[in-house]
């Protein structure tokens, strides 16, 4: 059965840690890191990458446009 696997790449230096993407993700993939970036923001990362389906919901609500989304079909 074909399965969809996704992944996101966050430009962590430009992320402002606003958390808007966290609630937008239907799979609960994302969280804010304990560490901060150069600007002092806890940046977004994939806490549970296995669950990502590459739906891009996180990316389209990100006010700073720092998320890129990738998707593959796995047979």
């Amino acid at each position: 059965m074909a399965k969809i696997r996704g992944a996101v790449k966050v430009d962590t230096e430009k992320c402002k840690g606003c958390s808007v993407c966290l609630g937008a993700c239907p799979m609960g993939v994302l969280d804010l890191a304990k560490e901060v970036n150069g600007k002092g923001y806890n940046y977004c990362y994939m806490k549970d990458p296995e669950k990502c389906i590459g739906c891009a919901s996180c990316a389209i609500v990100c006010p700073d446009g720092v998320i890129s989304v990738y998707k593959v079909k796995v047979d």
Partner: protein, 274 residues
């Protein structure tokens, strides 16, 4: 088969979404979670999708989004406070084949620029107005706007907006919808993925309305947040917006192709029980 690693997935050929090239790489100056950034991106994505980067002229307001020209890779003009629609009028009149839009806050569009707004709409200039209504003056530190909700606190109405002395929240969008030369009026938001999709479709329609030769002005209101001046986190602000702002400013299309949508404009009577 071996498990896919993240690095196997994050490859150029698997890319399904990334920031549009019509946006520059400059880091936006907005507060974390501010809807201005999302709205900018939607405008940029529409410009890319329609392939009109070389034909689009934007006009930025005075307000938090004054520096929008640093973020979109298109020709832009910076207007005096409230005057963007007059400037856009002239641009479109001297270069009718260009796509012209203004991007304005609620103070800019609905207070100091009311005359320019109403009259460009009334003339039916074939332009797009993107109106970001966060119910407050963001840039200057959270003063009351014409759109501030009744009872809502702002630094110039610290005890809450008193509708008896300061008037009710101004529904400029509904006012504009009633002008015969206005073609498309809609109110959207950009705080959830579903809303972003709708808002983008609306912005796209508003730009497409500039190219079919039928004319008319297209007006897209984005009800948005101002976390910093509302003194909330971005997530809380978005929730507060859903619970409060959307009641005053319900989302949806108000006018499509010169037709006011049913039930979208009703006379508002003065309510004393506020």
């Amino acid at each position: 088969m071996a498990e896919l690693t993240i690095n196997d997935i994050i490859k150029e050929e698997n890319l399904v979404y990334k920031k549009t090239k019509v946006m520059t790489d400059n880091v936006m100056h907005y507060c974390p979670g501010c809807g201005h950034g999302t709205t900018h991106r939607l405008v940029a994505e529409v410009i890319e999708e329609l392939g009109i980067q070389d034909k689009t002229i934007g006009v930025t307001p005075v307000g938090c989004s004054v520096l929008m020209y640093n973020y979109l890779d298109i020709d832009m003009q910076e207007a005096a406070h409230g005057r963007a629609p007059a400037i856009a009028t002239a641009i479109k009149r001297v270069m009718p084949d260009k796509f012209v839009f203004t991007y304005q806050g609620d103070g800019d569009l609905a207070a100091i620029g009311t005359a320019e707004t109403i009259h460009s709409c009334n003339r039916g200039e074939n332009i797009t107005i993107i109106f970001v209504n966060n119910g407050i003056y963001g840039m200057t530190g959270g003063q009351m706007a014409p759109t501030t909700l009744s009872g809502m606190k702002a630094v110039t109405c610290p005890r809450g907006r008193d509708v008896n002395t300061m008037g009710y929240p101004l529904h400029i969008t509904e006012l504009i919808a009633q002008l015969p030369n206005v073609r498309f009026v809609t109110r959207q938001s950009v705080h959830t993925p579903a809303n972003v999709r709708k808002a983008k479709a609306a912005i796209r329609r508003a730009f497409e309305n500039q190219k079919d030769g039928k004319g008319g002005l297209s007006f897209v209101e984005i009800v948005s947040n101002c976390n910093s001046n509302w003194k909330m986190t971005a997530v809380d602000a978005n929730k507060w917006m859903e619970e409060n702002t959307f009641k005053e400013y319900p989302l949806g299309d108000i006018k499509i192709d010169w037709e006011i949508q049913e039930g979208k404009i009703s006379l508002r009577n003065r309510k004393l029980d506020y």
